[in-house]
């Protein structure tokens, strides 16, 4: 396990270096002056500009420049937003938890719905229910997410009036910002309307989370179906059947556990996909998350914000990736060997 951890950490550091290098080079690729793209101070005076040039070591070689940039990033200084002139790190700390909350809820929904359906399809392999589930899955990942979001608003918010269509929580509730994750903040607050706020927040999250969850859920259906078919064909299942175990015992005691392990490996990769879908969905549902903020910074040509947002978002995706790797390795001793290291 120790070698495994060391390998993951070195991979993490390497990838972070590549990502910072990418965001560093974006400053040169974007239009405008490099140091202003780095810092986001568009209204800087001559003396401030000289100071910035000094801080980012613009007069030295490119390696020194990168070093200076990296120092700034490591100190949590992503520069200022060109549009609002407030520090980007502060904006990100406020917005990122909302995205984390939304995408984790969506991931949970996708797994709870997708994995059992995939198992059912695998158990009924090549029968009608298998075909129905597979066709639904294909339809599910063909639907454009923005269209689905709009239809969901039209049906559930405007037509039936069941669920709110925009935002994180009704403005009536005043929740103090502690962690940024709405549900935890509500539970921590000592407001007398705690439970009303909680149910209001859950009503707000259901619609966007379900819209995001659809495409990953269909992928989980396919993954879990393939995993289950593979497990059911394994010889230990045949041995269990030969011992005279009932079908339910085989499925619940042996097959599901082994199939689940195979699926967990793919969660990290799927998460990257899910976060992109979440970015678009945040725009539609006016969810105050980092995806909507990033897309708005593109409209406003806020290059410093684009860099910071990209860096934080891909860092977040990568951390989830590594976390699932760890969970997988903890559950499956076979994976701890060198085979899966890179």
């Amino acid at each position: 396990m120790l070698t495994f951890t060391l390998r993951r950490i070195s991979l993490f550091i390497f990838t972070m270096l590549v990502l910072t290098l990418l965001s560093f080079s974006l400053s040169f690729l974007f239009p405008g002056d490099t140091v202003i793209n780095h810092s986001g101070q568009i209204n800087a005076t001559v003396s401030e500009l000289a100071q910035l040039n000094q801080a980012y070591q613009m007069d030295k070689s490119i390696v020194n420049q990168y070093g200076a940039y990296l120092t700034h990033i490591l100190n949590g200084d992503f520069g200022q937003s060109m549009a609002s002139q407030s520090p980007i790190s502060k904006e990100i700390i406020e917005l990122l938890p909302a995205t984390i909350e939304l995408s984790l809820v969506a991931l949970l929904i996708a797994m709870i719905v997708g994995i059992p359906l995939g198992f059912i399809a695998a158990i009924k392999h090549n029968k009608t229910s298998d075909h129905v589930i597979l066709s639904l899955a294909m339809l599910g990942y063909s639907i454009p997410v923005f269209w689905l979001g709009l239809l969901a608003i039209l049906v559930f918010s405007i037509g039936l009036g069941w669920l709110p269509s925009a935002g994180k929580i009704s403005l009536l509730f005043e929740i103090e910002f502690v962690t940024g994750i709405q549900f935890i903040d509500i539970l921590l607050s000592d407001s007398p309307y705690k439970w009303q706020a909680f149910s209001n927040a859950s009503a707000h999250i259901i619609l966007p989370a379900c819209v995001i969850a659809l495409a990953p859920a269909t992928i989980f259906i396919r993954l879990s179906r393939a995993a289950m078919i593979e497990v059911l064909a394994a010889s230990y299942i045949r041995a269990a059947r030969a011992k005279g175990l009932s079908f339910q015992q085989i499925i619940f005691r042996h097959a599901i556990r082994n199939a689940l392990i195979k699926i967990i490996r793919h969660v990290g990769l799927q998460f990257a996909n899910l976060v992109t879908i979440a970015m678009v969905t945040e725009v539609i549902f006016s969810w105050p998350g980092i995806g909507r903020w990033l897309i708005e910074s593109i409209y406003q040509r806020d290059y410093t914000a684009i860099q910071g947002g990209l860096l934080v978002l891909s860092c977040f995706i990568f951390i989830i990736h590594i976390l699932t790797d760890f969970i997988y390795a903890a559950l499956n001793p076979l994976a701890r060997g060198n085979k899966y290291g890179s």
């Binding site: 063909s142 454009p144 923005f146 996909n273 678009v280 897309i295 684009i306 890179s342």
Partner: protein, 297 residues
Amino acid sequence: MAREKIYLEEVFPSPFMQLWRIFRKTPVAMVGFCCFILLILLAIFAPIISPYSPVDGNLDMILLPPAWHVDGNVSYLLGTDELGRDMLSRLMYGTSLTFGLSFIVVFFSLVIGVVIGSLSALTRGIKSSFLNHFLDVVLSIPSLLLAIIIVAILGPGISNTVWAIAIVFIPQFIHITRYAVKEEFRKDYVLASRLDGASNFRILYYSVFPNIVERLMSQATLAQSAAILDIATLGFLGLGAQIPLPEWGAILANGLERFYIAPWTVYLPGLAILFAVVATNLVGEGIRHALKLRKEN
């Protein structure tokens, strides 16, 4: 009666023909394939067959519902939008933008990806290992996110979207070609032609490519369905096709303000995207299914 063939000739169909024979027998895949062909024809001939211009509006016919509605007009089969532009014509022109461009994008990245991938499959050592790691990092970033970043660098617009998506899709073609070529090079028939004195490029062209073409096609259909969704999403976000281009995602975004009074301006382009993606996915599923069956035989 003239007999052209005197001897009974044994014909071995090429791997591609074998695949086509299996593919033809799956009805669902054939339906998808026909829809796919229809979309291609529509993309090419949209300017000829569309009844009205996609950008010029008829101000007497604003927000006309589709023809099956009580207030509909049969000369505007799918209704009109807020400027009196015919939805049917806009959707037809949109086929060549959303679907046609996605086809071109995928073809372009396929060609570049295959060239780089097969060259890299022939190299060994540090260059190859570096490429491998680099590809792994690039492939772990979602395609839409990367496309959004590239559009942010290049600036919004349909041509920049096309470039961005083409660049985003190249790595996955490099990856799959590399693996497929490496796998084929280990097989005995390659060794046989190498013993005949064939050069690497000759082997690649005459022996390896005919055997991996269907795997590349299967990847291409996957990439195309993603490309359609990406072009439409970027159009919807206002980063891709700009007003008044009739790109499906842009039409949908355009109808957003009148979503409640004129829902057809939103659900029709959405259905068009769904139709195109389902058709592409059906073809892809058909190819993968046929590949599996051919392997089992």
